[in-house]
């Protein structure tokens, strides 16, 4: 969150559900919700697209759609789960129109652990490699990992987005992590053969 945004907000102490009710008629309340969750939405889209420009476009679309339909939010569930549901639909529409680059996904196999985080190139390579590895997982596992780690949803909230139970989300996360670990190990094995 940029420091420019950290001005005094009368809504800062109100929880999301109450704020969402105010946001139906109060632009400042909607802005506060936006500031709270824009990073989660952006990281969700960046994790899926791997592309900053597309992630920014999808983040804009997500919040514009949320603004249009804020009156339909009934407050019965978590606001962030409702918002991430919109993000998931925008993401699905995006990939229907822009199918993922499957061949490129297979292209570069960087071992995850060995690159320094100090250099922007290393950071970018690390991020791209991790996102490529995520795209190789089953869609449910990848989505659970992205919602929990990139959007920082709880398993309950992620379950609401995916229509699954909390236990199912925890299982998906656990198996997704195992998959990632296995793939990373394979890359290391090849490296040191």
């Amino acid at each position: 969150m940029t420091t420019l945004m950290k001005f005094y907000s009368p809504h800062a102490s109100i929880d999301d559900a109450q704020l969402a009710q105010h946001a139906k008629s109060d632009a400042d309340a909607f802005a506060e919700l936006y500031r709270r969750h824009v990073t989660s939405v952006y990281r969700y889209h960046l994790a899926h697209t791997g592309n900053i420009k597309d992630a920014e476009d999808l983040t804009s679309q997500t919040f514009m759609a949320a603004l249009e339909s804020i009156r339909t939010y009934r407050g019965t569930g978590s606001y962030v789960a409702w918002l991430m549901g919109i993000a998931a639909r925008k993401r699905a529409m995006f990939f229907r129109q822009n199918k993922p680059e499957t061949s490129i996904d297979e292209a570069i196999n960087l071992p995850l652990q060995n690159l320094s985080f100090e250099n922007p190139v290393s950071r970018r390579l690390q991020r791209e490699q991790l996102l490529r590895a995520l795209r190789k997982l089953s869609p449910d596992r990848a989505e659970a990992l992205i919602l929990c780690f990139f959007s920082e949803l709880t398993p309950v909230e992620a379950g609401r987005v995916l229509g699954k139970s909390e236990a199912a989300i925890k299982m998906l996360v656990s198996r997704g992590l195992q998959d990632l670990r296995t793939r990373s190990s394979l890359a290391m094995d090849v490296e040191y053969e």
């Binding site: 680059e101 292209a107 652990q113 690159l115 290393s122 950071r123 990992l145 925890k170 656990s174 992590l177």
Partner: protein, 437 residues
């Protein structure tokens, strides 16, 4: 990561969970983007449009509707014009001489070399009269064709073909006759690229299986040498002029950027830590100079550098402003290509496929010319013809004798072949063979 989840992750999965968390935390949203979107949302909020009605607001509303109507008419006018095929960027500036250029090219007077095109995991060669692109291996018997490279003498075209994860190098003549495999067996995995040595006697290639390993293969398919580097390649290496070292964009645990590796002892030298783009560097034809694009995120500046390789003397050919900071979305520079006489470098620069432009920089540092908007993938021929892709077509531009900053004539050579593959535009490549005598 949220705490309820952290407590339930097994110890062996914890490092991967931490890696995911740190990667996520490194994804910083651009402050400008965040601020602009917030402004848009505030303006679009329904409460912003519910003002008390007064004579002023009514007048304001009326004026607003009038402006909106005017804007609508402008938009409709633009939309109608955009549906009609428009002139190319260069044609907009210099509309008259294209016919003669086109006639000259079609009749074989200029731009006589074969033009190879990689697009959508297929490779094509221009027809003799340059009216179309003819697909190599139309039956797709050798799988995905994902890379191409003309031999130094321009007489042979090497391709990488991959079938079910197994790749081979194939060679054909300048007219695209039968593709001949170089390796007797495809056992190196999914091959990424192929590069000729400067004497045309060796290939360099690398495989998805391990991007720390390069293979040097004799052009006749014998004597495969596997070389393990102490770094990870992010780009295809290029040989230095003497063939003893390679240049690549890569990283290891201590450095990243444009690196030089001695093939004899694997010693690594950093040429520039600021080069990020995989195709953002190129050798001059005589091998004396290396051009590369540096991305200085601290200064907020992209710099095109020409380095005299023996002395290390550098000239900054041009600069572009870029956003500051490591989390920013940066444009990329790619497809650097030198003019045969070393006097110019062309390249494309931009963020996506549609907002790129092609630039020409004079290598004495005297200036830069934007040659085409909404264009990418430039390739210069030995006789001064620039090929590039714009708006679904391959264009040719005549750069011979370019002395003034005006835009030279160009014309649409052929439509970009339709492709069902959703390939990244960055894999598109144009490359000229030898000029016919």
């Amino acid at each position: 990561m949220n705490n309820p989840l952290r407590n339930q992750i097994s110890p062996e999965d914890q490092p991967m969970a931490d890696h995911l968390t740190s990667t996520a935390q490194g994804m910083h949203i651009s402050p400008n983007f965040q601020s602009n979107l917030e402004t848009q949302l505030m303006n679009a909020h329904p409460s912003q449009h519910q003002r008390p009605s007064s004579w002023f607001s009514k007048a304001f509303t009326t004026l607003g509707w009038a402006l909106a109507g005017f804007a609508g008419i402008l938009f409709l006018s633009w939309a109608i014009r955009s549906l009609i095929p428009g002139p190319t960027p260069s044609q907009e500036i210099l509309p008259t001489p294209e016919i003669s250029l086109e006639a000259n090219v079609r009749s074989g007077h200029i731009c006589t070399a074969s033009l190879a095109l990689a697009h959508g995991f297929k490779v094509y060669l221009s027809s003799t009269n340059k009216t179309e692109f003819i697909r190599l291996d139309p039956q797709k018997t050798i799988g995905e064709l994902r890379a191409l490279a003309w031999s130094p003498d321009g007489q042979h075209l090497a391709l990488v073909g991959n079938t079910t994860g197994h790749g081979n190098i194939f060679v054909t003549g300048a007219t695209g006759d039968a593709l001949q495999p170089v390796l007797p067996k495809s056992e190196l995995g999914y091959l990424m690229e192929v590069v000729w040595s400067h004497d045309g006697k060796q290939f360099l290639t690398w495989s998805v299986a391990n991007n720390s390993v390069i293979y040097l293969i004799e052009a006749d398919g014998t004597g495969i040498e596997k070389i393990t580097l102490n770094l990870y390649m992010a780009s295809t290496p290029q040989f230095t002029p003497d063939g003893t070292r390679i240049i690549l964009v890569g990283a290891n645990s201590t450095v990243a950027g444009l690196l030089e590796v001695n093939l004899a002892d694997r010693q690594t030298r950093v040429i520039s830590r600021l080069v990020e783009d995989a195709t953002g560097f190129a050798w001059s034809s005589d091998g004396s100079h290396l051009a590369y694009m540096e991305m200085d995120r601290e200064l907020g500046e992209a710099r095109l550098i020409s380095e005299e390789f023996v002395t290390g003397n550098k000239i900054t050919l041009t600069t572009f402003p870029i956003p500051k900071g490591s989390g920013s979305s940066l444009p990329t520079a790619s497809n650097l290509s030198w003019a045969p006489d070393g006097s110019q470098v062309v390249f494309d620069f931009g963020r996506g496929a549609n907002d790129r432009a092609i630039y020409l920089a004079y290598t004495d540092g005297t200036g830069i010319v934007k040659l085409a908007e909404a264009a990418r993938t430039p390739a210069l021929s030995a006789d001064g013809c620039l090929a590039y892709i714009s708006r679904g077509q391959v264009f040719l531009m005549d750069l011979r004798g370019l002395t003034s900053p005006s835009i030279p004539p160009s014309f649409g050579l052929a439509d970009l072949p339709a492709s069902s593959a959703n390939a990244d535009f960055r894999l598109d490549k144009l490359q000229w063979g030898a000029v016919s005598q």
